[in-house]
């Protein structure tokens, strides 16, 4: 899009579309971007130009270099443009009856949902009887975040196992799984049922990390597992893998 060192030319194109008033922004190297006026007005600079009416047939050239807030003006336009285009939505319904409207592309992070949609069985709502609303909202949050990230760079970024030092999602993922055990447990089941590989890998790895380096007793305490061995049986089992206890 427009780089930070270009100048911005604004012209009005009212005639095209009665419902959504559009403006055209032209970068210094001659590329034109037609956007909704409301979107363009995210930029205070452009907003003032439009409101002051100084733009009709005369192209008003703004040298971005001379203003301080240059770099922020170009970014806003692109995000909103993406949102307004092609947003087909689906409704997901949790087991406790709550409905969630999401972009179809986000919902399709779930292979299960993807197949339902592709098979033409989606109709209005996709019922998910195995997922409660609390968990579903978290899952949607995960899918949205990962879909966004995939849209901004190569698709491989959403793979959990990619190089963690360069993957910007790693930090977000780490925070995402800082939840109580019940939620973590439910997230694993949901990720499995909905077939979302990234989320399944993330949650399973979180649990595996909680197990690493612990003695059996510590594991039982962490995961609230009942020891259903008799002392003799437990000794037998330990003997099987004696080496790991030394």
């Amino acid at each position: 899009m427009a780089s930070s060192s270009t100048s911005v030319v604004v012209s009005n194109k009212e005639k095209e579309n009665k419902n959504t008033k559009k403006v055209t922004l032209k970068s210094s190297d001659g590329e034109s971007f037609e956007v909704d006026e409301s979107v363009a007005m995210e930029s205070q600079t452009i907003k003032h130009i439009i409101e002051d009416g100084h733009y009709s047939s005369l192209a008003l050239s703004l040298s971005v270099k001379t203003t301080m807030a240059s770099s922020s003006t170009s970014v806003v336009v692109s995000n909103k443009e993406k949102e307004n285009k092609n947003t087909k939505k689906v409704t997901l319904k949790s087991s406790d009856g709550e409905s969630f409207e999401v972009d179809e592309s986000v919902a399709m992070e779930s292979q299960t949902i993807k197949h339902i949609i592709e098979d033409g069985c989606a109709n209005n709502e996709i019922p998910l009887p195995n997922v409660t609303s609390g968990i579903l909202s978290r899952v949607i949050e995960y899918c949205k975040k990962h879909k966004e990230a995939a849209g901004e760079s190569e698709p491989s970024v959403t793979s959990y196992t990619s190089n963690s030092t360069t993957n910007p999602l790693t930090e977000w993922d780490t925070e995402f799984v800082k939840v109580d055990q019940n939620t973590l447990f439910d997230l694993i089941l949901a990720a499995n049922y909905l077939d979302i590989k990234g989320l399944l890998d993330l949650t399973c790895k979180t649990v595996a990390d909680m197990m690493k380096g612990k003695t059996p007793q510590e594991i039982r305490e962490t995961f609230h597992i009942k020891n259903d061995y008799t002392p003799e049986e437990e000794a037998e089992v330990r003997k099987e893998n004696q080496w790991a206890f030394e």
Partner: protein, 371 residues
């Protein structure tokens, strides 16, 4: 709650655990124990190979072998009392170990998993022979490789028993192959006598399989490499760089490529890769500080041994001396050198300076189907 987690999901979590953590987790309750044993998902991609040191003791049944944990950098002792006979290590087969009972001079092979304490003899060869070369080829079948290991074992050369009192033993110029899927040996065909002689006399080390060819290196100077192209049953011989100057030379496989690790007399340890047209290309030299530490008071590389898996190369001597490791660090996407302290004491007792043969193994706690 967690005890109700479906077995396949629990198994998925277990496949992310290193073997020591898995061993402890599986002891926590019945359900987890059953799951750890029943669902051995292939852990090769998640976990590092472990260095297993088998002491070399003549005619004594081995009591224990020693394991190095690459993550926590500590040693474990693993009991080998399940082995019925004294054995020598031949090589790894994924998570199994190929061994040779030493009670017989004629080659007999067996496989074992030191973690699950499974042991099984392979059937007898069609042609009895002593001291042949043994090579292993894993048949790549990632979904089944742990539970149902698919592999082939090639035996080449060796000396056959005398047929008549006067004749004396002769070199056996035949190649036999064992297929784990059929559990039988079959004679593949003849082989050139000069290769049979070389492979027998020089007691070749562990074989390396790369790009359709099974390679062995001779055990002494002047080193040369022999290769068997599996598909066509043809043999090749390759020269080795600085063959006259190397004090030790071993073949390993690094990222699928045949690699030669060698120690130059009066110089450094180097690694060469086999590139197009059977040429060798120097890829790495061991940093001097590691070389000095490794050699210690010794002035030659002579007693150095080496093993590799695709992602790591270990240079070692005996159990108490330290090891030098060159390994891929996954997070950084590059290979780095590490020093590993030897195993000096165990459970409060001093460990003897035992000569060892090392192998890099993918630990598996789940019993494989060994017929």
């Amino acid at each position: 709650m967690w005890s109700n987690l479906p077995s396949d999901l629990l198994a998925n979590i277990f496949s992310l655990l290193p073997p020591d953590s898995l061993a402890r987790a599986s002891s926590s309750c019945r359900h987890w124990h059953t799951c750890a044993k029943a669902y051995p998902l292939s852990t090769a991609s998640n976990n590092l190979a472990w260095f297993l040191a088998m002491p070399i003791q003549r005619n004594h049944t081995l009591l224990s072998c020693y394991l190095h944990n690459p993550i926590l950098n500590n040693w474990h002792a693993l009991s080998l009392d399940f082995l019925p006979d004294p054995v020598r290590l031949v090589g790894p087969i994924g998570s199994l170990v190929l061994i040779r009972p030493t009670i017989s001079t004629f080659l007999q092979l067996a496989i074992c998993n030191p973690f699950t304490r499974q042991f099984r003899h392979l059937p007898m060869l069609n042609i009895t022979r002593t001291k042949p070369a043994v090579g292993v080829v894993m048949v790549l079948d990632s979904t089944q490789s742990v539970l149902f290991p698919c592999f082939k074992v090639f035996v080449a050369g060796g000396m056959s028993e005398a047929e008549a009192p006067r004749r004396g033993a002769t070199y056996e110029p035949t190649l036999e192959m064992y297929d784990s899927r059929r559990d039988t040996w079959q004679i593949v065909g003849p082989m050139p006598v000069e290769f049979a002689v070389r492979l027998t006399v020089w007691t070749p080390n562990e074989s390396v399989y790369s790009k359709g060819v099974l390679y062995w290196i001779t055990s002494a100077r002047a080193y040369s490499v022999m290769g068997l192209e599996i598909g066509t049953n043809t043999w090749v011989e390759l020269n080795v760089p600085m063959a006259e100057k190397l004090e030790f030379a071993t073949l390993v496989r690094r990222n699928g490529v045949l690699t030669l690790v060698g120690g130059i007399c009066g110089g450094e340890a180097c690694l060469w890769e086999l590139v197009e047209g059977y040429n060798w290309r120097l890829v790495e030299k061991m940093p001097i500080e590691f070389g000095i530490r490794f050699l210690g008071s010794k002035t030659s590389w002579g007693s150095t041994k080496c093993v590799g898996s695709d992602k790591a190369i270990y240079l070692y001597r005996d159990l108490r001396s330290g090891m030098v490791v060159w390994r891929e660090v996954v997070d950084k996407g590059k290979w780095e050198w590490f020093w590993v302290e030897g195993c000096c004491s165990f459970g409060g007792k001093q460990v003897q300076t035992l000569p060892i043969k090392g192998v890099l193994l993918q630990p598996s706690l789940a019993p494989s189907w060994i017929p």
